[in-house]
Symmetry: C2
Subunit: 304 residues, 2 copies
């Protein structure tokens, strides 16, 4: 095993991921848990971090670089924002140092769009963008980053020009758990229903104003025609993603097309959604992107 150079942490609202990384950017150890910002705010950020650092047996002197919601106002230390238009390189220069810790711990800033017509914020996705696109990306890019709070980002020559957050994932969670639609999806098994999903994506893409009607339709369809809970769940998921795509695809399309930064099940779902609309995307793995972004930032901060 090579010598570890630093610890990289992606600290989101509801998830925590830590990697022990060597000077060449190679992952030596990994930790994943659900001790995101919300849980860590109760347990204490230093204690949560230390428990995972101890588990990977990182040396005492090793520095730690963090991105994500740990830098929010309700997080550990507020790491501020880089304002749009935001060069990705600016992220590297504005990391906030956590005081009172023996270790050198820094949290990368988020991005703020201080536009009264379209105010928006991101924390964590900027590091994925850095890792996916690099510092010297030329030309225009349109990036879709699915999630609890999906981001659609327009960049030009390595600078974030504009972005929009869609709370698609959180809406899916709320409508399937906290509304009458919970009856429609109750007992849904893991079986996928690609046909229902893609039909819902298309319907919502074509008539996004009918979103609240298409959602209710999943319940009415079951009452009048039957159908499985899994089909209803896929219909709800497809409807919400279809509306998001209607907005995300409504602007000018860059020559390079769309980059989809996602991992796991979300990557699969969004691939199916874009396929349903015959839109080609260039996929990038989100886990790899955030690790690469953290590595680039760590190299810039500590290797001088």
């Amino acid at each position: 095993m090579t010598e570890p150079a630093y610890v990289a942490v992606d600290w989101g609202t509801s998830s925590f991921r830590l990697w022990l990384i060597d000077r060449a950017g190679k992952v030596l150890a990994e930790r994943r848990s659900d001790e995101g910002m919300l849980a860590a705010a109760k347990a204490g950020f230093p204690a949560v971090l230390q428990s995972h650092i101890a588990a990977v047996e990182a040396p005492d002197h090793l520095p730690v670089l963090v991105c994500g919601m740990a830098g929010a106002r309700q997080g550990w230390v507020e790491a501020g924002y880089v304002d749009t238009p935001a060069p990705l390189s600016a992220i590297l220069k504005q990391a906030a140092r956590v005081s009172g810790e023996a270790r050198d711990i820094r949290i990368l800033p988020g991005i703020a769009q201080r536009n009264t017509k379209a105010p928006d914020v991101m924390r964590g996705e900027e590091t994925q963008l850095l890792g996916a696109l690099g510092l010297d990306a030329a030309g225009e890019a349109l990036v879709c980053m699915p999630g609890t709070h999906s981001k659609w980002v327009r960049l030009k020559d390595g600078t974030i020009a504009h972005f929009s957050t869609f709370m698609t994932g959180e809406l899916f969670s709320a409508v399937t758990r906290e509304t009458i639609l919970s009856l429609a999806v109750a007992g849904a098994d893991a079986a996928e229903d690609v046909a229902s999903f893609q039909a819902a994506v298309k319907a919502a893409y074509q008539a996004p104003a009918f979103a609240a009607n298409l959602l209710f339709g999943a319940r009415s369809r079951q009452l009048l025609f039957g159908g499985t809970p899994a089909a209803a769940r896929e219909t709800l998921s497809g409807t919400l993603i279809g509306v998001e795509l209607a907005a995300g695809l409504s602007g000018a399309m860059p020559k390079a097309g769309i980059t989809l930064i996602a991992s796991g099940r979300l990557a699969m779902l969004y691939r199916l959604a874009f396929d349903a609309l015959s839109v080609t995307v260039s996929p990038v793995d989100a886990d790899q992107a955030v690790r690469r972004g953290l590595s680039m930032a760590a190299a810039a901060i500590w290797t001088k």
Copy 2:
């Protein structure tokens, strides 16, 4: 006090309303409670009804006419549906009698749209439509009925041709209570913010695909620019209603314009929303409409 002729009940998902009515349709007594279908399914429908009948001191022989979710599959007695195209007069002919009760208790049917592309159901609103439009309404009508599950209904010559349910009210409840937006509205006082509401209606009407982005914007705006919880709440409400109006107003407009059947705060909100879009509506009070519809049905059933 004149002699009571029957008891009329509007039994919704989460609300119960009962009126003691004389032969001329005059209200002699009224009861309101939150013992809707969900609560009554636990407490028992006969017991809930009897407690309110006793409170208004209705004679033992008095018949009871019910509309709404008490006639749903999960309700008291399933009252079936009239299928679209549904003449309003058909409602009068298909009331379901509750068996095993000394009293003559009947529940009016709902309306079903058995269209695989746009399946939909209503229970209770058909009785409001009957009361608002009467049995012999000529010409085309477009009716907006705001609520937990808003209905937009197209009628021709007294027959329901097509309708769409929008779960606008329930979405508002879910997003303000069960998502990160609950932070934005926490502590909101009753103060109204008409400017924020109408601006949100317009923005959502113009770009309904951006609904999930406009909702999140209420939180981002507060983070970056401040603003009251009440302003955020009105923005969320205006966004969801604006998207509903974008769909509801997307079809052909009948000569008679739009009828808005609503009461109380919802009537006020939707009036403001239509005003923001410079759309004129003919208002009808929903409480009066449902009472009138129940009276018409009671007269048809028991006065022969």
